[in-house]
């Protein structure tokens, strides 16, 4: 891959309104000699200024996918396929061709693509002040900037995300911040270079419900102010409904259903999506009614058979079809895709 990059810089192109496009992305993780097929050929498209939700149970590969986009998966991960990304200057790059921690990729990270994490408390090192760690992102990408410039910019950003007394906060250590404050700080830091793409990996899961709402509001506000796309990873369908325009449902390293929020929520096609929606608690539901739980557990993605990944847990599983063949992707309505044998040509 290294040589490929050096020798022939392929020219790629993306439609005007598309910022990121992943095609047949596969990520394998080597653990204890076994190979885990964490991501098994997904196609994904993210438009400018759009929020795309990536939902699924834990272990479905959504986190790996997002980290692959920003190139921070550990070294035991290898990937194939392509992730095309349109830079600020309009050139289109295949991110997978870049050296993972090479200069080119680093120039993009934190500058054009940024990421915020599930646990803000661990996203900062406890040994340095928040200001020190936040300023870094300015200093890395703007070598001409002085520490003073960086501090000014960071304080401005801190104000933007609603941190009170930013001058004092600047010199404090992470342990002096609350979780919500840290997430705000993280967002402020990550957005300070005004990236085109923000990857949010369950940014509110570890926070209290009230703080959650604040952070989500903040993100929405910033998105409109700064004009960026968000790849929002979560397992919480409620948040998806409020944040996203389009949703991709992932299961076992595959995208099983893809469509607009409306399409997915009102017309779920894939049995798995249906199950997910049924397992959401509803305020209006009968108290006696038990929450729906999907039977079984997610299988470990090692040496998977040629079959639908969900067939073992699927209530509508068709013997001889679902456990024998890999279902194709069907566009059931415009912009609404599903990977299930229940639909499509085979039906007829």
């Amino acid at each position: 891959m290294l040589f490929q990059k050096k020798n022939e810089q392929k020219r790629y192109s993306l439609p005007d309104n598309v910022l990121l496009k992943a095609e047949d992305l596969r990520v394998n993780i080597k653990i204890d000699g076994a190979v885990l097929n964490a991501v098994r050929g997904i196609d994904l498209e993210l438009k400018s200024c759009e929020t795309l939700g990536l939902v699924g149970e834990s272990g479905c590969g959504k986190s790996v996918t997002s980290k692959e986009v920003i190139g921070i998966n550990p070294s035991n991960c290898s990937s194939t396929g392509s992730i095309l990304f349109k830079r600020k200057d309009g050139t289109v790059l295949n991110l997978l061709e870049l050296e993972r921690d090479g200069a080119e990729y680093r120039a993009i990270r934190g500058n054009e693509i940024a990421m915020i994490f599930q646990e803000p408390m661990t996203a900062f090192s406890p040994l340095y002040t928040i200001g020190n760690q936040m300023s870094e992102i300015i200093l890395i990408h703007h070598p001409e900037a002085t520490k003073k410039d960086a501090k000014e910019k960071i304080i401005e950003m801190m104000k933007l995300v609603g941190i009170a007394n930013p001058e004092i906060r600047f010199d404090q250590y992470p342990h002096e911040f609350s979780g919500g404050m840290l997430q705000r700080a993280l967002i402020a830091m990550m957005l300070s270079n005004e990236p085109d793409l923000l990857i949010a990996d369950e940014p509110t899961t570890a926070l209290d419900v009230t703080i959650q709402a604040q952070i989500l509001d903040l993100m929405k506000r910033l998105q409109s102010e700064l004009g960026m796309s968000i790849l929002f990873i979560t397992h919480d369908l409620g948040i998806v409904a409020s944040m996203c325009q389009r949703v991709a449902v992932m299961y076992l390293g595959e995208i099983v259903e893809f469509g607009s929020v409306r399409q997915i929520f009102h017309n779920p096609k894939h049995p798995y999506t249906g199950n997910l929606l049924r397992s959401l608690p509803r305020i209006d539901s009968d108290r006696e009614e038990k929450l729906y739980a999907i039977k079984g557990v997610v299988p470990v993605p090692v040496d998977l058979p040629e079959a639908c990944g969900f067939h073992e847990r699927c209530e509508q599983c068709m013997e001889g079809i679902c456990d024998k063949r890999f279902p194709p992707v069907i566009e059931v309505e415009p912009g609404h895709f599903v990977r299930c044998a229940l639909y499509g040509k085979s039906e007829g």
Binding site: K67, I72, I108, P126
Partner: protein, 336 residues
Amino acid sequence: MKSEFLRFVIKKFLIMVLTVFLISLAVFYIITLPPGDFLTNYVGQLQAAGESVSQETIDKLKAVYGLDQPFIVQYWKWVTNIVFHGDFGYSFLWKMPVTSVIQAYIVPTIVLSLVTMLFTYLISIPIGIYSAVHQYSLGDYLFTSIGFIGMAVPNFLLGIILMFIAFKLTGDTMLGFFSAKYQTAPWSLEKFIDLLKHCIIPILVIGLMNTCGLMRTMRSQMLDELSKNYTLAARAKGLKMRVIRYKYCVRAAINPIAASIGWSLVNIFTGTTIVAIVLNLPSMGRVMYDALLDQDMYLAGSWLFLMAIMTVIGTFLSDILLAWLDPRARKEYIQG
């Protein structure tokens, strides 16, 4: 911020004083453990040398050491003598005050201990980092195996084996601190080089056990830090791997090791004691060993006391170092 730090130091210091007090009690108890008190031995020795000791003299000596009084009074005399007169008692093996004996040996002992400590940390930290960064590489396996060997071979035996190897290679056994030629010669570059040569085996032997432990700790700490979330965040910022490793991971991984510097003195003192006996080094270890064989308890006890105190002081210093390095430490501590 400053006052917080000062409060931390003062609180730690007070605790150290308390600890030293408790240690002194324990040590004095040990001194009085063996059968036959100090005076009986002392008088017995004078008599063995042909001295007739009158009851008057015995009574006088009893009063000096408070031997006819309860433990706590005796202890008090011992402690006040140390604190106010720097008098640790009398070594009847050496026929001189314990202080003089200790003075004669403490410098080489401390120098050896400190050099060993320096060696231990200078070797183990870089190797630990290397092993963690290059996990499962050939070098990692090599250092890990050396580490295991160091832990599994008792250090006295390692000393003898190294001595044997030295003898086979150089024809000299490298005992003591100097060769015969330089033993009494004035200081010169050659003598210093000779000293360094003679220090290799002791440092290796004393340090290896510690080094191996530290190496493994550093490696696992470093692996731990490398897998922490903040490294992901730092990478996501676009920070270079090298900066992440050294600015963040190494700093964080070193903290618990810095906190253990004081405690590592305990192992080093044990090491120097054994090595001094095996390799014939003029350090307190040997003196202590001889003192114990001869039940010269004031000498042995005093040295034990000093070692414990040095450890406590070392711990105090490393606590302060940790608090200085890690802002969380002092906060947690002050909050209880």
